[in-house]
Amino acid sequence: MRVITSDVLVIGAGLAGERTAIACAKEGLDVMILSLVPPRRSHSSAAQGGMQAALANSVMGEGDNPTVHWLDTVKGSDWGCDQEVARIFADNAPIAMREMAHFGVPWNRVKGGEQQVFIKGKKATITEDSVNEGLITARAFGGTAKWRTCYTADGTGHTVLYTMDNMVLQMGIPVHDRMEAIRLIHRDGRCIGAIVRSLRDGEILAYVAKATVIATGGYGRIYGESTNAIINEGTGSWLALQTGIVPLGNMEAVQVHPTGIVPTDILVTEGCRGDGGLLLDVDEYRFMPDYEPEKMELASRDVVSRRMKEHMLKGKGVKSDYGEHLWLDLRHLGEQHLKTKLREVYDICMYFIGVNPITELVPVRPTQHYSMGGIRVNKDGHAYNLEGLFALGEVACWDMHGFNRLGGNSLAETVVAGMVIGKEVAKYALQTDLSIELGLAEEAAQMERRKMDSLLNGDGTENVYEVRDEIGRILTKYVHIFRTGEGLQTAVDELKKQIERAKNVKVRTTAPGMNPELSTALRIEGMAKQAYTIAKGALDRTESRGAHYREDYPARDDSNWLNRTLVRWPDPDGEPVYEYEPVGLLDLPPGDRGYGGGQMIDMTKTVDEYNEQVDPGQTAKGRLSPSEATGARLPKEAWRAELEGKE
């Protein structure tokens, strides 16, 4: 077996992974990046709308600052986030955007003078201050008090990823693409790299490093119907779950985006609504103001998706061969706007569903989009219970999103986390010795070889694609926007069967090389088990918070459930182990989000009592000590000035 060593091994070449690699390379470390696909094909490239950062250059961002951004993020999370992490994010986001400008992103800029825009669905004229001409501008997104989302037309992920990858080129950081990490190499609570399968020729290799970073994105494809790229099958979070010791956090927190197009489930950006697009029903009636008089189409995604589903359940959906949907109306934005600022959207509608958004309504429905949950890490990005393992981006539960993330916050997270956590990874790698335990690597590789042998030559009977489709069907049916105890119990029971089926898969071809069916078969156990952790976590959480909405428990319950779900899978043939930890230090006490109209059960503890249990509570669950004390980055009650100023 070939063994390749580096100081830092980064698994995943999207924005989060590449930014981390750059941070480490800047410290003189020897960095290696692995990727399933050529880096510029990573799913980061598909992000359209933009990145939130409180630069406050546009007149519609006047009065914005990181505290206001932080407030929006905490409310958006339905108080499920770690408020200190949200703070680290909001404080660093403007720096990250400017740095990306320095690296070469052609951000759209403020143009001085009068501009025609849409605000809350109505035509309006704003006057941009010529003093800010040429600075990075922003557009509106859901759940935000200000226009804060920086963009390059509707190809933001694309330009930022290309720019980031240019930096990787400039720094000469190697990327081994078409490589899939399939098992972590670890012993006694220390991770020393990963076993990797080449998707070019099937070779099994060991990549050994002082620090291993997982930045592989989300697991949306487990749902089958998802806006995600087809490579987002939860391979990175499975690496962690497979260890048996690293917990995944809040797996039940799954975002359903309001506007996947029908059919094909391809996303059209929230920027469509940010720029003035409206949601219409079967009667071409604009229904969102009836449900959300304040935010209308621009409430948070969990709320808009829920309202859309609610409206369809009232019989107001549009029937089609591909199931029910609603309409997204962009016609009034005009040809000029649709062919420039929303050109990708225009192309997607034209090419994939033959709809011209300049003259026609776009069929949309809420579609699985994002995983708030993932590998649980401390504020340095260091995984619980496993030294030397870091995670960031969508694959991680850092946890700035809690139970619902705001649009434009995840793309920004990749770059901000890469900057912040990248430094911590570098710090760790600089003070750690390389431990090349060949025996340990060989042992891990042997486990994977045995698995492959059994998939290829064993007496299994199941077809991997049928199991995959069934898992997606179960999740989409029972673990979606509206959840019930009964439905979730069915999902848990059914998914348990899929785990057994997954163990009994037989690959129909022994072709050497990339063997695409073997690749899927190697992922299927991880997909089935992660699906199970999502459904079981949702069943056990008897409250509604953010994207997790229980019809039988409609209230957010801060007295019992102001916590984070942690799940580990210590015995591969047994049941997963569920635990709960405090969400983190509370600065903004739980309250009303200002949209969504949900019920609340107040917390019984005081904020101080709650905060006292945070450090010991998280440490008891395996959190490694962060490099700074808990709360060091949380300026206490800075929000008061903002809220009181408003009142």
């Binding site: 094909r41 490239s45 320095h102 951000w107 759209n108 400039q170 090389g513 695409p516």
Partner: protein, 241 residues
């Protein structure tokens, strides 16, 4: 009644002993709005489990799935079978290294191209986290974005006659990349540096002007405009010498 489609697909697995390149035919009942992405998945899942091809975003954004469809390089994900005849021939893109069946190694080629062109902003300025960003005119940002929209799918290279006979040719994707940085005021490279990069047979003078690249570019990049700009710029530099 739906049609029965026949997919004639180039097959070759270089990792398999004694495998020879050949064509295999697969039949599929056409369903409404079928695209080549879904069709290939159906063929792999039901008929040819070892069939190799590349998709990532399946939304025309990532550039993974370019292939020759009835002789024309294009993105498979957004090609509807209803726009094609009953028989559909699928071949891998020429020019790039074949990994197997319809899968080619565009990633390595584009990385090498990027390294060759030093595809990054050349600047002496240091980033100052405390400072406001440098200003840029929005029209300039838009102009850069026009060229930055390239998704590196390789269609232009596959459709380029020069590239087929002269493998060092930068092709439309490479020239467009040069344009992207030429347009960018943040890039401090001087005329001399650009001149050396562009004014060669691998660069702008290798282009025979047949512009198949412009016909096949799935993102409708303004290639004609970019090439004209580069030519003008290079001529100006030559005169100035």
């Amino acid at each position: 009644m739906g049609r029965t489609l026949t997919f004639k697909i180039f097959r070759y697995n270089p990792t398999k002993d004694n495998d020879q390149p050949h064509i295999e035919a697969y039949r599929l009942e056409e369903i409404p709005r079928l695209n080549v992405f879904s069709a290939l998945n159906m063929i792999r899942e039901q008929q040819a489990p070892d069939l190799m091809y590349d998709f990532v975003c399946r939304a025309g954004i990532c550039g993974s799935c370019a292939m020759m469809i009835n002789g024309r390089p294009t993105l498979a994900c957004r090609t509807l079978t209803s726009d094609l005849p009953d028989t559909i021939e699928l071949f891998p893109l020429p020019f790039f290294k074949l990994l197997g069946d319809l899968s080619v190694d565009t990633g390595v080629w584009f990385r090498e191209m990027g390294e060759r062109l030093e595809s990054w902003i050349h600047t002496q300025k240091q980033f100052d986290p405390e400072a406001q960003e440098e200003r840029m005119d929005n029209a300039t940002a838009n102009k850069i974005y026009e060229s930055e929209r390239c998704i590196e799918c390789g269609c232009c290279i596959a459709g380029c006659a020069t590239a087929q006979v002269y493998p060092d040719f930068l092709g439309a994707a490479g020239l467009n990349r040069i344009g992207r940085f030429l347009f960018d005021p943040r890039d401090e490279r001087g005329d001399q540096e650009w001149f050396e990069l562009v004014s060669t047979d691998e660069g702008v003078f290798g282009c025979l002007g047949m512009m198949a690249c412009d016909d096949v570019c799935p993102k409708d990049l303004p290639l004609l405009e970019v090439f004209a700009y580069i030519r003008r710029k290079v001529s100006g530099m030559a005169l100035a010498k």
